[in-house]
Symmetry: C2
Subunit: 379 residues, 2 copies
Amino acid sequence: MTSQIITQLETPALLLERGRMQKNIARLRDQLVRLKVAFRPHVKTAKCVEVALAMSGGSPGPITVSTLREADYFADHGFTDILYAVGFTPNKMGHFAALLKRGVMLTVILDSLDAAHALVQASAAMPFAVNALIEIDCDGHRAGILPDCADLLAVADVLAKGGVIVAGVMTHAGGSYDCRSDEALRVMAEQERSRTVRAAERLRQAGHAAPVVSVGSTPTALFAQNLTGVTEVRAGVFVFFDLVMAGLDVCRVDDIALSVLTTVIGHQREKGWTIVDAGWMAMSRDRGTATQPVDQGFGLVCDANGVALPDYIMVSANQEHGIIAHRNGAEGKPLDIPVGAQLRILPNHACATAAQHARYHVLDGTSAVVDGWERISGW
Amino acid sequence: MTSQIITQLETPALLLERGRMQKNIARLRDQLVRLKVAFRPHVKTAKCVEVALAMSGGSPGPITVSTLREADYFADHGFTDILYAVGFTPNKMGHFAALLKRGVMLTVILDSLDAAHALVQASAAMPFAVNALIEIDCDGHRAGILPDCADLLAVADVLAKGGVIVAGVMTHAGGSYDCRSDEALRVMAEQERSRTVRAAERLRQAGHAAPVVSVGSTPTALFAQNLTGVTEVRAGVFVFFDLVMAGLDVCRVDDIALSVLTTVIGHQREKGWTIVDAGWMAMSRDRGTATQPVDQGFGLVCDANGVALPDYIMVSANQEHGIIAHRNGAEGKPLDIPVGAQLRILPNHACATAAQHARYHVLDGTSAVVDGWERISGW
């Protein structure tokens, strides 16, 4: 591609600092090597083959997806061991069958007797046996069967008798996003591990092989001290990090690899406002830091070189307009950046912000765009 | 296309009730005929040529866009009179020039001396004279020059001396979204009209032709009683309506033409939760009703036929998971819908929800999909 510098980009545009991304990946991979557990990166954050290959160590490995569109796309790029980590629904069975027919080892998840019966019924028409993981509720946060609930064994029995392979158990410690200290994150990581391993042991005692114990969230993956009994870890947002993760002290602000480049289009000086051409369409509507000790509005402002200006945030966003102001409102000094100048905005939530864009403009520590990576979206 | 019924769709999927859309369009067009003012629909809500044609009365007419990607796409479909309603930036001048060269009458906006100087400088390299509207601040909500501010004439002078055509003034009464009664909306509509007309009159007194007086927002467009002096109205969200508009009493819940079809994937019965396969990726993160008297969570639940179940909302959303519960929490009766069954979720904000999807599945009062309309995204 023709080399560009960021001042030549039409704004808003999504920037990816490759060096930061590589550092973030190395940090998690090193952690998992130390804990002797396999990695099944979640590709829902990046939805981009170049990023997934970097997470997998250079060649296709096991991945987790959040949509079957991701499964199709990554299968096109050689990824064949895919966990679809959203509960099975019958209206997706034709799509599952197409993936199995093309040689993808697709594993589905479920967490109820109703879903088990539906999966058995739907899988009768499938060309191959279906692999399923039973979702475990490790923290009361969302879905899953409690590890000591009678339904766990009942679901496994329905699946096994119906010809579905009971591959094991999986969980997602979404509750880790509400932890407010390193110690709380370590406790949550151990809770995620122990409850999921406990569920797998119950299945094995009942005669199911259940070889897989899959856990994951970025905070617990990075703060786990022991993963005995776990066979694989899933994590996604770690690859870019974001302000929510920085607010949890899981990363520093200058580990965040993703930002939105924007241009100043005007000022409302008596209000201390700088108006830019990135609104919620470019940033997403995610306000994940609103419930954290430091509210970052719709994003934290950096100068055009990516250096954070920690007093300035996007306080309000319309579709294609963002309003930047001092975080202390009228008491703070307004940002003094002229019309036409560029800024970068760090996102609250990397998954949500990246989803608003079709391409990463890849940087490597300077303002030169060294590559352009496409990303996919939809279902 | 092969005819489908909605139970055959993979979920989540965006549904558009064509009859409701047509009724919403007729309502606004009738209002503007009555007020004797031209219509320049904002295509940022729909980003879809079929919808834009319906808004324009069947053949291409004047439109408003929020991105140059929209300008390109609609120009490809015969729309040549385009207002780009986000402040001019120099890094978009190459793109402006390309649009002008292909015959698009593109009008840009700006609201400062800095931007006026930058536009004059950048337009010197343009193939044709550039049309500009000066943005007026009618409600303190976002951008614009106050109608009685000295800068208004200074900006017009800079533009005129630099060869830019001072086409007139425009405003957006975003403050109408904070109105809480019909009377407040009527007052806001008159404020939007009178202040913008006042700005145009000042320009004309100073010797500028300034023929265009462009106002717009869905609430003020529908509640205006008199638009004397206004030459055109812009509005976008009216075409689909949404829960924010229903919360303002600008429409009824059963006027909302857009919904997200989703499938039940599980339950957490002791919590009263129904878990579905539409999360924030399908609904958006928009929480526009959070500050209204009735908070609709991430969306209001309807049965598979689109009949609202007004006690049930999406109380929480992860990327591909939504949690549905009674709006009174544990005091309410849980929704009794089995795994595999479908629901429709009405959106808080049609612009934000539609933006998460690449296609409208068009219905016309039944569960048959009668058409599929593509939509665009990005910049």
